[in-house]
Symmetry: C2
Subunit: 230 residues, 2 copies
Amino acid sequence: MLSQSISTSAPGGRKVAPAPAATTDHFDVLTGHAGLVASEFIYRKDEEIYGEDETAEYVYQVVRGAVRTYKLLSDGRRQIGAFHLAGDVFGLETGMKHRLAAEAILDTTVRLVNRRSLEQAAHSDVRVARDLWSITSGELRHAENHMLLLGRKTAMERVATFLLEMDRRLARAGMIALPMCRRDIGDYLGLTLETVSRSLSELQAKGVLGLSSARQILLRDRHQLAVLNC
Amino acid sequence: MLSQSISTSAPGGRKVAPAPAATTDHFDVLTGHAGLVASEFIYRKDEEIYGEDETAEYVYQVVRGAVRTYKLLSDGRRQIGAFHLAGDVFGLETGMKHRLAAEAILDTTVRLVNRRSLEQAAHSDVRVARDLWSITSGELRHAENHMLLLGRKTAMERVATFLLEMDRRLARAGMIALPMCRRDIGDYLGLTLETVSRSLSELQAKGVLGLSSARQILLRDRHQLAVLNC
DNA sequence: ACTCCGCCTTGATCGAGCTCAAACGGCTGC
DNA sequence: GCAGCCGTTTGAGCTCGATCAAGGCGGAGT
């Protein structure tokens, strides 16, 4: 089945969304400058956006939805490197290939721009070049923090750090509406889904958070989480 | 005691090395272009080069020796993010501050260049801008691979990956001469020094490697290591 | 040559998180 | 309204790597 309601042209065999087949409007977060052609696509839940080691033709920005990027070991063990939420850029590379695979966590709209035209813009506009570097640098900062988490934090500390990150990135009206399942969280934190579930239950029992449903979280005591976060 | 044999001027209160107080020669790996003033410094074993959250005034390149960059938790748990060996650039940031601390693993000579002058060069020369981005992107690639290691690999797999990385980066005449102690390796791999030691002993017992001394390693069966590395 | 000290190895035990298993709950489609 | 299913929770037992402990080894300094 197709990812989009109307199919027109397609990069990499995928189908183009109807309305803004080509716009000169934004990709603001990416470039801060116009002159680039951006298209919108919709990926369905669990659909692959690109694979590991696939040639990197496009750079992406999440419009609506959420994306996970990950690496796999040959036996199926998975490490999610990052979750990308509305506004986030992903898939930006300096080399030829994507170093992680990317999948939609739920039905997700992305804006994408040709990677070569972006590099061309960077060639003529130093501000674009600086923006590209800044995006990669931001990803590196996240990865460095995450290495500390994966290498040295306890399960409870990992979950606390995760909750504070999600609170910062997607809290609306004090509530966190998680787009991802427990397995995704586990594969992000280097834990099993059972350990994630147990940690959340323990935090709920202690009154640190409230779970109105499994994916609707209310943080009641951010200070306590921050202590766990070290 | 001072880090250098002769002291002259000093950035950040440190003492300048005698010979090349200012050269227009290289920092080749960094810029690929001249016009930048680079100084050389010597740091002694275990000396701090910069601290976490310290203002980033300089970008560094290892000339001789080795450097570890790391983050600490409040209780002293440490995660080493990377080892930087001869030729490697480190300390490059887009933000104001260093996100990891840096220490010399042993007596180490570094070349350093003012961060602002480097950014200025990037402003006028798009190739410099591209190089800076590439360096950060290379660090990100390493961090992404390391997240997979820290989140999902077993102790033996981590040690195997480490050995292959060091073989690639510093093998001379088929031998690996490790500059770092077992604790450093453990803090890099998210293990204890005892587990690192046990893993190496086991690999030696299996004939995969030979230890002429604790830090002199001969890889006898790279294929077996590659299998463990997945 | 000897001693000291830091680094490394090895052994014994412990425990945090994993694995295996079962039951629960909420959503979807009939 | 009901059945089935997927995601989640909870329980029980196990295992890998951590912790605690004791020696060994080799290089630096006297």
